[in-house]
Assembly symmetry: D2
Homo-oligomer: 347 residues x 4
């Protein structure tokens, strides 16, 4: 049994992680820490939770050091301060925050407004998108779990990056997210009465997921100079991200739409959590709600020389907690889908 | 493995039943029938479903006769026409429709507008509320699975019925339901644009669940003449029923609120799916969403001589498909909670 | 033109008041004060507002003293501290907060946790429910604008209070409100992700509107000892209150349902903002959304000896800002419906 | 007073038109026809409507011929059959359906699946986007009222079309609409339980608004060969369209973002219903809800050589009924904003 610790279990990502890990057979949850709710039982904070009678404890590095793996489901700026100590105690770290997602400490500082506390670990950290970096994840000590938007967007474009079919100057990601992505934090803009019956773009001037997506795509394009427009929107719903992805083809692209769909299916053949829909079918967020799946629909518009990909995930699962568990499974050599055979329900 | 057939698998109750049964280890789903979607694959109709690759077939009694148990998740008026034939073939029936919920054929005809097709089976049918009739369920051939409102309301009052603490003339059930209860049927009143941002009472003139609730409470009160007011309301949400239950106490009632809560807890001690909350805590529908749980909160108002009970269920699970599976487990001598250890999630 | 000042214009009630007053032809909005947003323009805070280019200013009693009437759309505890000074400057006050709704200062202190700052004004304050106290309002200096629940509930029962038809020991108000009633305040329980797809009762242990409703009904019943159960619930929607009201009849009640409906219609004949629906029709919150209307539906259940009334209002209009404007119209001898001919829209 | 007739008053567009026209001082509503609800009073069908006691009558061309103007708020295929007769009786027609939006009858047939019944009128019909065609509208007999998506999208791009700043091959309109756009029609996909808590793209294979938008943009670009990708999405809300618009700049574009914003403001100086937000501000659908406004936010991304415009309207007002009234005002030489000074409210 893998001894697991969780720091920051009282956010929406944290409680989702607890839901998944408490039903995971290979795992023993040893320590559940929360700065804000320490001392309370999980029943007090989340009366819907039936996965066990945990007590939220204060963050205690010595206790965390006794775990095999520690998940950080904290705001940015926390994990980077404890990482070194835990790693040197032999603990694996899966960080669901943004602390290790960028390789460039200056870029990190520009977007997060403080100096990075563990710059030397940025290089070691493995970007935990298994569909891209499965091998590196398996041998990693420190995982930077991708952001929710970056997961949806990268899975949509990943099959194209290694080809010469697309124009690196023409990436547009028009992405839409449910509200749970804003976290369990009392702020005016997240009130029901502010979100309900409203739709808006936000972060147009620069969303923190932009440098993460750009850097990863740049890497996938082997350094081609990438131009990317990323527009996030807020949908009046709880869970789900749908990204509508536009990129122009080059003259090298010769496939039909149906061949493109086959190519995508082949590309993701070994990936249990990516589902490429048949030609003419497109994802809906409810199809993946509560699950670790990413659904993709692809379309080729020949006269516009455009490949259009629609990508849907549950932001709290494949976009956060589920992907973290997937990474844990890989690190500890369990079956990749262990504890992740979740079924969506509707209505 | 129990060989299972489902008739009417393409309604919201039907697909929920498929969700539960496809994850149930003791069950082999042999036949999935739908009049409206026959010939289609489940993937076509419910692209979120990951529990198996079923094909909806036309209703065929001879094929259904080869099953050990057949679930009817149909509108009323269907099950009663096939029951005799299936029963004589040795098949158990769990009817999620209203066909066998009333004992009185005339009363049935008054509410459903047609003569009952199997009047003689009404007496045999066991009312499948396990918390009330567990023993009878275990040996039943034909289960009338309770309605969603009746389940929420009865579980709230059941502990009181066998006492002499309450005035049988003073039952008031003010109940509120999400929209999925109206079914997967294209009607104007169920449109998003009609339901969203609206709250209303409905069925005040007489809801079909009223005679069911009244008859069951009457039975529980050993024939005392029961007076019951039942007011259903429509909540702009998908799943969930919350019933706010009012009944006056008689002079025989001497408990404190805390003793009342303990009495409720003791009453439901052996019932895995009823959770009596501590004094001062009350249910919310999201606490039971997606699960087979009923949450209860009790309050005693001494100066008003009133016992107030709040009861919450998921109308599609404990109010329909989950309870049906619970009944199946009892009939086939499986553990009662087999396949029903579902965990709610939020947000 | 009536010179108007508003204190607390940046809550949901305050902005609704601005919406109504800025379209009111008899009014000149002179001073718009906000403690929290002072210095900002209304466009910054409410980009949807098109009624004029106001600036939120700090609260300044001397400036307010130059107004003819000042509205307080503040949390409780603010108006009571400025009332004396403004009244002595000849300013009329319409207080939308709870400061002057109770006559008994001790009762006020029990529910609001602090001593009342203007106890001697409690007696003078007129309870601003025009359908009950129109005459007193016309000559009032200080109006206690009723709470939202109390408005919906009292309008439902008002016609019955002066009769001897009902049993004063049997009032039950099962009320449901949209979320805007919780105010424009950043708190966890009002987050979209906490409210959406959930329904719950709250304040069962004692809601602050209870003493207000009880005292008013007691008064209406001419001192009969009233027993009232009041259960508020939270509906996942923005605006609207629907109250389902139960009270038992005495032997003196001899009307048919249709006569009861006529009696209600006659009772409210002169009241432009109360609409009694035909027999068999019941209110929905969307029918009154955005308007100052109260819709009522009545039903008599003879075998249960019960009168059931369903009452719907928009909590921010008839339950707050609209009623305040209605009171202002009465005080300043304008037509009662001036500025209040609002039309609901749907979807 | 303009004598007005409405055909198809019982859809969401129709009732919105009735809301606006019943409050319009220059108008006398003479005839309200509905095929589906003929014989019913408006109160029966829309109990929230307070604008007058209309009766829905069957469609009768002779009665309609006595009107000065007839609005068609019908599905496509109706107006084109009555247009000739009404026009020859001297009646103006404002058609809110798609019948006269395309100039090319073959294109119309390709998208609507039947031959056009009044091909020769297609040329005469004026495309009723006043911000583009104000003069032509003023002297028109027959108005093709634009679709909702086309309105939001064109108003976003209109200022750019007459310049040489943009690359005609690079138009992308990623548009999101609330559900009321699907109409008051009982279909499975519009059910609350299908729409709520879900987000999806639809019509990717070809939405009927695509040829309308493309033809208009083509015209605006003076025949440049336009390449346009249009992706509509369904938002779980009632009203509102938000279009996120991407187009690449050519080398001729030399403005800064701030200059671009000024240019847009100047362009729309005389247009009361287009509001260009300051640099750094972007529209939200609730800012225009219930109003005839279009809000625009513009952004220039120099390194991506991209102009990004966000455009928001209320699909039932500026996207349908409000624009129709605006056109009527122009035709009958009333002030353009007569009856359209509507104020949004929130929450």
């Amino acid at each position: 049994m893998i001894k697991v610790g969780i720091v920051g279990a009282t956010g929406y990502t944290g409680i989702e992680l607890l839901r998944l890990l408490s039903a995971h057979r290979g795992v023993d949850i040893c320590y559940v820490a929360s700065r804000s709710e320490a001392g309370k039982s999980i029943r007090d904070v989340f009366p819907f939770f039936k996965g066990g009678a945990y007590l939220f404890e204060p963050v205690d590095l010595s206790r965390l050091s006794a775990c095999d793996v520690v998940f950080f489901a904290t705001p940015h700026g926390i994990a980077m301060k404890s990482a070194e100590s835990l790693l040197s105690a032999g603990v694996k770290i899966i960080d669901l925050s943004a602390d290790f997602r960028l390789k460039d400490a200056k870029e990190w500082q520009r977007w997060y407004g403080e100096a990075h506390a563990s710059e030397y670990l940025l290089k070691e950290a493995v970007y935990g998108l298994p569909e891209k970096n499965r091998k590196q994840v398996q041998s990693a000590r420190l995982i930077a779990n991708p952001g929710c938007y970056p997961t949806a967007i990268q899975l949509g474009w990943l099959p194209l990056l290694s080809t010469n079919w697309i124009d690196a100057q023409t990436f547009i990601a028009d992405a839409k997210s449910g509200v749970s992505g804003a976290g369990r934090v009392a702020k005016l803009g997240s009130l029901y009465a502010e979100v309900h019956e409203n739709f808006k773009a936000y972060g147009i001037e620069g969303h923190r997921h932009l440098p993460e997506i750009r850097a990863q795509i740049q890497e996938g394009m082997h350094g081609d100079n990438v131009s990317l427009v990323f527009t996030p929107h807020l949908v009046p719903m709880m869970r789900g991200i749908l990204a509508t992805l536009y990129v122009r083809t080059t003259e090298n692209f010769k496939l039909t739409e149906s061949q493109l769909q086959s190519y995508y299916q082949d590309f993701y053949q070994g990936d249990a959590f990516v589902e490429v829909l048949p030609v003419g079918k497109y994802p809906e967020t409810r199809n993946v709600r509560g699950t670790n799946l990413c659904q993709l629909g692809v379309r080729y518009l020949p006269s516009e020389r455009m490949i259009l990909v629609v990508s849907a995930i549950d932001n709290l699962v494949k976009g956060a907690a589920g992907q973290a568990v997937q990474n844990m499974n890989l690190i500890f050599d369990l079956e990749e889908s262990c504890g992740l055979n979740l079924s969506a329900w509707a209505p």
